[in-house]
Subunit: 372 residues, 2 copies
């Protein structure tokens, strides 16, 4: 029986434990707060509470600021062919301080609104992007083992240079998160003197501020570890906003249209994480606002045995009736379309494939050293 | 038979025509582009193409920049007891230049991803907020007539001072829209040199940029008409972002947590447009990622005859499995919960009622003059 260890038995650590156990591994779990480890045991996320020096793989799933110390402790315990990996949302500083051939950094891009091991699930990572950040010092065997496990969890391993990872997530995750909070706080300030504001906050505003509803607990560590990239992303956003502000201020209609049209094209071509963009399709169905319509459409699709990877209702900027957008595997697109059309829906399919402007064939830098 | 006129037979004008006809009105429609008026006739949005000086109510549904001229033309034609209203997303300049007792400005906060009269529906406004902006010069009769019709369309009329309207929508609609475009353009710039960026753009980023996918056509007029308020809202957002940037730069963990926690509370207490916050409930259901689960949950709810006013899947900031959030009338909350619990779901209900911090009882200023 293969042995694994999980350090930190929260939402992610617990989910990893469950996924490993389902694959037949024996999992030992440790948490600074013993109650959490016991709860993980109770929920079947681990086989036993403790530390396992014989673990072939150790997942360090503690807050970003505590990863380096916990990973060093694990590396000092386990054998020469063991693998240690982590799950923190920042990778540069961690990778720099853990130059051990047995260590490979990781970042599963998955989560849940629920906190702690009670929200854990062995399916948490299915379809998710799981960044791995091997460095020059990482042994190919350690990378292969981590990558293979990630794939067995149902996730898509994406190798990436640790610093590059931090720059990119600052742009698409950290700075947007802070922006959502800034928008929400601005509105809350205004609403405190005029509550009508909230009546006017329709679908678009709700979409833009949704992530601000998340628990802020992880952010001090993330922000501390990725400060420079976040500041740079915020400055980039400031510059992008300044461009728009300038065309507004000068009344430059053509300039405004150009900036908005560019954003529109880019957004419409934004792929979803899973499945891979070239094998996914958007199924778009205009729907009226009546009971059961969402159920009907998704029932029909589910009845075909087709998984819906993502589902969103595209309101206009101001809400109201909308278009139901589902993401399915491209191979099933026509099946889905014909079935829905047969039931009276007007269905359109949109490819989510790579777009020349956005998806130039640039291989991820870190992959070369490992696989080349 | 009551007679109404619609000037501009696009998505909104066409939907108004359909809603009026369903209420038994005779509707005459005009559009600068005759083909659009003929298409509206064909789709049953109007009874006849033309101009009706005998119309009791005229809806001016043309782009914001053309409203004043079209409304003046209508006012010069119709009788002394007639009502003229519009639907533009900006109200200050229009109201200032139309000081006629028969005119009352309006802004239905509803739309569709589809453009033109082909996307029109008599149900477009059901549950939506419909701002009305009477001025001191507006006759109470004109306001009452407009308000009564709006209510008959299924919308919630919200009286508001025109300038105040513009300030508020700049904060919750116009500036957020520009921010979504700025974020998307920033990411597109970065993606042009590293396509991996798009792989990392998960649920949170998709939410924040969704409205940037909309047609930019209406924006030059909106921005021109509401320039000062938009610039002021962008400056407010800049200041709110600067506050966050400062706590990031200084490593002030407590300050960061405080700003994020404040945004979190405000977002969680954000009401939805329909039904009225005090009579709505959020039904929250953690769901696994498997085919048919969305269908199953919404089928069960639809099967009870309960309308789902809004449905969203709350991912964590990084996507993955999630919590299905439905908004239903509060009166049906327990029925829905018990039914879903009976089928094995863990359901929680959240009140969407007013929260002291955000919803102080401050009556909308414009309402006083009209109803007092």
């Amino acid at each position: 029986v293969k042995r694994a260890a999980v350090v930190g038995t929260g939402l992610i650590g617990g989910s990893i434990g469950m996924a490993l156990r389902r694959l037949g591994w024996r999992v030992t779990g440790y948490d600074l707060q013993e109650q959490r480890a016991l709860r993980a045991l109770e929920l079947g996320a681990i086989d036993e509470v403790g530390i396992d020096p014989l673990a072939a793989v150790t997942f360090v799933a503690v807050p970003a600021g505590a990863v380096t110390e916990a990973a060093k402790a694990a590396l000092s315990l386990v054998g020469p062919r063991a693998v240690v990996t982590d799950v923190a949302g920042v990778k540069g500083s961690i990778s720099a301080s853990l130059r051990d051939p047995r260590f490979v950094g990781g970042h599963p891009m998955a989560g849940s609104e629920q906190e702690g091991v009670d929200g854990a699930s062995p399916d948490l990572f299915v379809g998710a992007t799981w960044v791995l950040t091997p460095t020059e010092g990482t042994s190919p065997e350690a990378y292969s083992e981590a990558s293979s496990l990630v794939r067995q969890f149902g996730a898509n391993p994406v190798p990436l240079d640790p610093r590059r990872h931090d720059l990119l997530v600052a742009l698409v995750s950290h700075a947007p998160h802070l922006t959502a909070a800034a928008l929400m706080n601005l509105a809350a300030d205004a609403a405190s003197s005029d509550s009508t504001l909230l009546t006017l906050a329709a679908g678009g505003f709700r979409d833009m501020t949704r992530i601000a509803a998340g628990h802020p607990g992880i952010w001090p560590d993330v922000v501390a570890e990725n400060k420079e990239a976040i500041l740079s992303a915020l400055d980039g956003l400031g510059a992008s906003l300044d461009k728009l502000r300038a065309v507004v201020a000068s009344g430059d209609r053509a300039g405004l249209l150009e900036l908005l049209e560019r954003a529109r094209q880019a957004r419409r071509n934004l792929p979803v994480g899973a499945p891979a963009p070239e094998s996914a399709l958007e199924v778009r169905v205009p729907v009226p606002d009546r009971p059961g319509v969402i159920a009907e459409v998704s029932s029909l699709v589910g009845g075909l045995g087709v998984n819906i990877f993502d589902l969103e209702i595209a309101h206009s900027a101001e809400g109201g009736r909308g278009v139901l957008v589902m993401v399915v595997e491209a191979a099933y697109g026509e099946l889905v379309r014909d079935c829905l059309a047969h039931h009276g829906y007007r269905v359109s399919l949109r490819s989510m494939g790579p777009v020349p402007e956005l998806l130039e064939p640039s291989p991820a830098p870190a992959a070369r050293g490992v696989e080349g």
